[in-house]
């Protein structure tokens, strides 16, 4: 626990590139994130072509029908095309043009989202994340009978969400409805992880040892550490299988979950618990300003041990 500042610094270091990318992307005018058609409205096509092709070939055809920024990706013999909303009829014309150029074109998937639905989905996504966060805070507040635990857990949570969002900004992965599902799952998982540690702190506090709070937290983290690592590991193992073998449709979803579970695991240790300690120390200091300055309890020999776990 003596190295709380390192923990904060490391976390900041991890979220910083993501945030910088978000801002740079925003400034460059291509959107802070790569918003998918779920939120912007538009058309998406996933076609399988028989002939070998280059992205440029497909782009030539798509640009004839869809003005503006279309996103075209190649994945094996499949091509994924994302365009702005196309007027009725244009869709069929585009498919006909593709068939004329490439011969056989199999439609694997086709999505069309009207701009109005896009706006609605955006609102729903925002509401979902906010309600999700609020419910967690309320639950922790009730179960631990303290706003401190709730706030500490929430800061760790915001950190996790920022990491996931940042990684999506960095890799320019599509942000769509399933991204929202990723965020909320990460919310659930991260809180789950934080709670196990907090629960340990609560259990140790109940034993009423005369241990200083920061050492107690430190001990609690160590005690819960094996569990934290094992759970994160098995969960990541399972979802990594989905990431590697699940196919292109579920690829980004699994990727987001992996990132979120990873950060959810360490943020409980590096952020949530240190915040709890700092808050405790701060309120102690306010209560007894003289005593706190006389005996600073921030650096203790026990604090070194958390490096090893």
């Amino acid at each position: 626990m003596g190295r709380r500042r390192w923990g904060y610094a490391l976390s900041l270091l991890i979220i910083l590139p993501g945030i910088v990318t978000l801002i740079l992307n925003g400034a460059a005018g291509r959107g802070a994130l790569d918003w998918g058609i779920d939120f912007t409205g538009g058309n998406f096509f996933q076609w399988q072509l028989q002939q070998p092709f280059e992205v440029g070939d497909v782009r030539q055809i798509v640009d004839r029908f869809a003005t503006g920024q279309s996103v075209i990706q190649k994945s094996g013999q499949e091509v994924l095309v994302r365009t702005r909303p196309l007027p009725a009829g244009t869709k069929q014309a585009l498919l006909d043009a593709m068939k004329a150029r490439f011969g056989s074109v199999t439609v694997l998937r086709e999505d069309e989202v009207g701009p109005k639905i896009g706006r609605e989905l955006r609102t729903i996504a925002l509401v979902a994340v906010i309600v999700g966060l609020a419910l967690q805070v309320i639950y922790i507040g009730i179960r631990f009978k303290s706003i401190r635990y709730a706030v500490a857990a929430d800061v760790a949570l915001l950190h996790d969400l920022l990491v996931v969002t940042g990684v999506f900004a960095l890799t320019r992965k599509e942000v769509n409805s399933s991204f929202v599902a990723v965020l909320l799952t990460v919310v659930g998982y991260s809180i789950n992880d934080t709670i196990v540690i907090f629960d340990r702190i609560r259990e140790n506090l109940a034993q009423r040892t005369r241990e200083p709070f920061d050492r107690l937290v430190n001990r609690s983290i160590l005690e819960a550490l094996v569990r934290s690592i094992n759970t994160a590991l098995t969960t990541i193992l399972a979802i990594a299988a989905v990431y590697l073998f699940g196919g292109s449709t579920i690829h980004d979803f699994a990727f987001g979950l992996m990132v979120g579970i990873f950060t959810g695991g360490y943020s409980s240790i590096l952020n949530a618990s240190p915040i709890l300690v700092d808050w405790h120390l701060w309120s102690e200091r306010r209560r007894r300003p003289a005593a706190a300055t006389a005996s600073p309890v921030t650096v203790l020999p026990g604090g070194r041990r958390d490096k090893r776990g």
């Binding site: 009725a88 869709k91 498919l95 199999t106 439609v107 694997l108 998937r109 086709e110 999505d111 069309e112 989202v113 009207g114 109005k116 639905i117 729903i124 979902a128 309600v131 999700g132 419910l135 967690q136 639950y139 179960r143 409805s177 399933s178 929202v180 599902a181 909320l184 799952t185 659930g188 998982y189 809180i191 789950n192 992880d193 709670i195 196990v196 629960d199 340990r200 259990e203 160590l222 005690e223 819960a224 094996v226 569990r227 094992n230 759970t231 098995t234 969960t235 193992l237 399972a238 979802i239 990594a240 299988a241 989905v242 590697l244 073998f245 699940g246 196919g247 449709t249 579920i250 041990r305």
Partner: protein, 455 residues
Amino acid sequence: MRSHPWLRLSIIFLVAIATFQIAFAPVRIVHWQPEFLAPRLHLNLGLDLQGGSHLVLEAQDSPAGPATPEAVDAALRVIQNRIDQLGVVEPTLERQGSRRIIIELPGIQDPQRAIDLIGKTALLEFVDTGNTPVPEHARWSTDGKTIRLPTPNAQPVPLEKKVILTGADLADAQAGFDQNTGQPIVNFQFKGPGAKTFEQFTASHIGQYLTIVLDNEVISSPVIRTAISGGRGQISGGFHDLTDARTLAVLLRGGALPVPVEVVENRTIGPLLGRDSIERSLRAGWIGGAMVVLFMALYYGFPGVLADVALALYVLLVLGTLVALRATLTLPGIAGIILSVGMAVDANVIIFEKVKEELRAGKTLWAALQSGWNRAFVTIVDSNVTTLLAALVLFVLGSGPIRGFAVTLSIGVLASMYTAITVTRAFVDAAVALGLQRPVTRMAVGEGRAATERT
């Protein structure tokens, strides 16, 4: 105190058998005789796995009238008729809000045709254009006062749309071929009053043009040669092929939509991709599951293997519950199951770690098991409720596949609590009762690393 381990084991065994029967239905009772079938998972697959179209239509206000809920309901019935003609198995249609219709078409082969069929207003009109033949594809304005010819940059020309009869006057329509030209046509038959009007009109307008208009677009503009009695007629021209003619016949038989609709959302998965997704996610599930099982066995030894057996039962429970709830399995739903397998281990890990601590604190194995389990219970409940809360929000606010994810994740979390708290515990207790203390204890001794760290 707890009941006898053997009793608990038998209950668990019975639950497992029952769940297997629910999920895979290998035994069926026919006329009081049991009949054995190959086990098959009786689960509804979502559109993203079996292929199909999810459409959202929004009714638009038109000069004919506003899109009232009644009009939307009427439109829904017309669309239902049209879909029935497509031969889609188990389509679902429902009104959402006051002016939207949600349509799910599982396993559809030609989604584009379905969309054309569903979204068309299909208002057929027979228009008296006097001595003016109107070229195909010319379009009337919505107020019916001017017409725009199908040439580039054409300006609207004033031409009154004098409607004589409409599609509502038709009794039947069938696609066929013209005997002389071999072109696809649609034969139609007017109802009694319509037939009379048709006869009178054709009798008094010989040599003039009767223009046939669909959704304000001209299909053909034939000249009236003789009075037509009997109310029969045909529409020719404007069809690419027989399918085109069939589509129009279907539309005419089903009647026009009382309000125009617009497709505001369309998510279509081809059958190829759906099959591919099932295969891939099954493989991912096996591999992910195997890795988790291996990890538990290697790290925790004998109790880990017991937990693995509990994990297998857990997967069975999740599938059984999904079948019992008639839930729909989606691709994110499968990911949810795999994810929850990883998380199901969590409860076991928490329990094992607590038991280990109790052992280190010097308690006997039996006492350590009991108190470890009791302490772990609170933690497990607390930590799982948070995941359930997140899943709840996804269920309420999400749609389609995302909702499937929320369902499997919630069932997964609940089932994992049950298996870890009841099943793993019964296994370990039974193992101890059987005199297998040594391997159970080894899990604590094996963790020398953690123990020394705490000095």
